[in-house]
Amino acid sequence: MTHPQSEAELADFIAGAKGPLQIQGGNTRGVVLDGDVVSTRGLSGVTLYEPGALTLVVQAGTPVAEVEALLASENQQLAFEPMDHRLLMHTQGEPTMGGVFAANISGPRRIQAGAARDFLLGVRFVDGQGQVLRNGGRVMKNVTGYDLVKLMAGAHGTLGVLSEVSLKVLPTPETTATVTVRDLDLAKGIAALSAALGSPFDVTGASYDPQVRTAYVRLQGFEASVRYRAEALTKILGQLGSVEVLTDCADLWRGIRDVASLAGQPGDVWRISVKPTDAVALIPALGATQVLCDWGGGLIWALMPAGRDLRASMTVPGHATLVRAAEGTVLPRHHPEPAPLARLAAGLRAQFDPRGILNPGLMG
């Protein structure tokens, strides 16, 4: 394993690499590939934090926890609510900012605030030839040239290794409350989430757990405003089931974010992205052991019997990622792309990593 201590060291190492490399941040997602491991953990620290401008620039290997603590001191947060994979994946290690953006990791608030990629303002990275490149910047609005920032977010290190990221942060809401609606079957559960998300009440989380037949709708903001909106949603959702408003709900949403309900159970864990209302027909067709819905139904976490290819049951548009493979499961991690998109992706990889040494095979 190599631990470059600076961007320049990282660039030198990649330029001189003779074979495939596995890029690693905190290694909390349990990805195992062939190749020498390159860790970004040596690239750590906050370069710039301007609370009044809602901007933060950090080295890629900086632990997420360190950033969250710093932001909390100014009453700010990572609004896209990145998941911590350690519980689900049963891994150790420290999630890093670079890892979060490389994998575009977003939690329940993605439905309202946007994904990790929507908060990434600028990147510095080292491409597959060892060249240091940058794109974007540290301002919130920037359309100067192509948006390679988005391309790097979610590229899982296959186009380059992130060395520094700048991002937009947001104020932490003063209060949180959750409107829960019980005794809902799947169709009604998703309908409840659609009704809440289609209201003017600025919902920041919309999850349904079929196991307990309950829909959870999160409201955040100033105390009086949250109370008002909770009352308004209680009226709307009360027509569907029995409603209760929870004010102590941080653990609930951390559990949804980290998919706690599926942790520790044997089998494969899949993450499916579909049009929210498609969840109603899709979930019964999956043959899953257990599921959890987030993003209004648009994000389905499914615990499946080991080795079963869930993608074969995908009768609706969308995609599925095999997040946790049980021992012996041999299926591609990422959803195969349609041929024309796969050609474009291969073309981009050939440009940014002509030797094909950065996380080869990870994305297809």
Partner: protein
Amino acid sequence: MEMPPPNAAILAQKAELLRQLGRVLPADAIISDLAETRAYECDALTAYRCPPMLAVLPRTTQEVSAVLRICHAMGVPVVPRGAGTSLAGGALPTADCVILGVARMNEVLDTDYDNRVIRVQTGRTNLSVSGAVEEDGFFYAPDPSSQLACAIAGNIAMNSGGAHCLKYGVTTNNLLGVTMVMMDGSVIEIGGAHLDAAGLDLLGVICGSEGQLGVVTEATLRILHKPEGARPVMIAFDSNEVAGACVSDIIKAGVLPVAIEFMDRPCIEACEAFAKAGYPMCEALLIVEVEGSEAEIAHQLHLIAEIARRHDPVELREAADAEEAARIWLGRKSAFGAMGQINDYMCLDGTIPVTELPLVLRRIGEMSEAFGLKVANVFHAGDGNMHPLILFDANKPGDLERCEAFGAEILKLCVEVGGCLTGEHGVGIEKRDLMLHQYGAADIEAQLRVKDVFDPTWLLNPAKVFPLSTTESRRTAGIAAA
């Protein structure tokens, strides 16, 4: 601005091109008469004009595909055009190009409130997307000033923003899927009503690529339920520094207004003379708008007023009713018209870190004296996106050149303080030659390599975004290859 000279070999193929296009398009979709192609000689950057060789106005994705296949085979450059409202010259033709306008493709294809998405053809105007869902209480959030006229195709090409993106984001944050025709005529589908891409975020790089990677013909957009209400407050200060500090404090306090607009004295004076909105004469004016129920609005405005009072404002005016709210916005919304009445103007679009605001405004003031041209500043303060309006006289020899030189200095200043050349208008031809001030040669090369993948023969809008010297070999090789 220099444009590449027309290629005589391409011009010589005009008759053959017309013949081939006539086989795939109805006659009324092809414009070749010089008198008529003049309608496409420029966009909203009117200082630069050049009629195209031809213009085509297809009605379907299949027609777009057929046109591109023919142009690709014959090596003819294509400049895509939405509504032609680009302030950066994004749709400026060359004499040897085909303008491909999507204006006739303006249908709503699907509206889905349960999933909060709308699917439209991209010739549809921005405001009419909201118009299609308004009666049911929904809206499409990105709201560029030109929203009455500008097309979704152009919004996607430029990744357009607007006054309300502090809360709702810009186009890229509200775009979920596209149908796009590649230069070779092949049609690809990316994304849809679900969130986030399966593989690489191709949608992310297509949005904002200024029509250089493909022609987007259909788009799936996120729609939202309208807030219950919205109301602005106007706060006047006797210095730019204090107004800037107030913006910072509002943001730090955890209030996230939907818009924070900033106007400086020259802008206030011009707007007041034009629109008579009743603005106080002061150094800096903020218009801060919040949303929600009546009680929520009152609460947020109370918090904002408390913060503002700590900065000793000259005046603080809350809108008591809709009429007063409209009057507060009136001056700001007529800023461009007010400037147009005084003189010709050039509208810049650099973004700066909000904290650098006082310094940048002071430096712009100094440059204004040095260049002998007046400038008024109006901008989206919450996100640092500035819109300096430089006044000049197009009929006065040398004034345009002086104005452009002044504009370039302002944009270089934006980059110098940690910002960028363009926040929402795009590079086009206007800022093309400044790109090397923001990016190193290798960073530019990385972007060119992306175009190599999508458009290997460099026929789509080839003379934009990047300095011509950095793209010359690719452009000439592409045409030679065809």
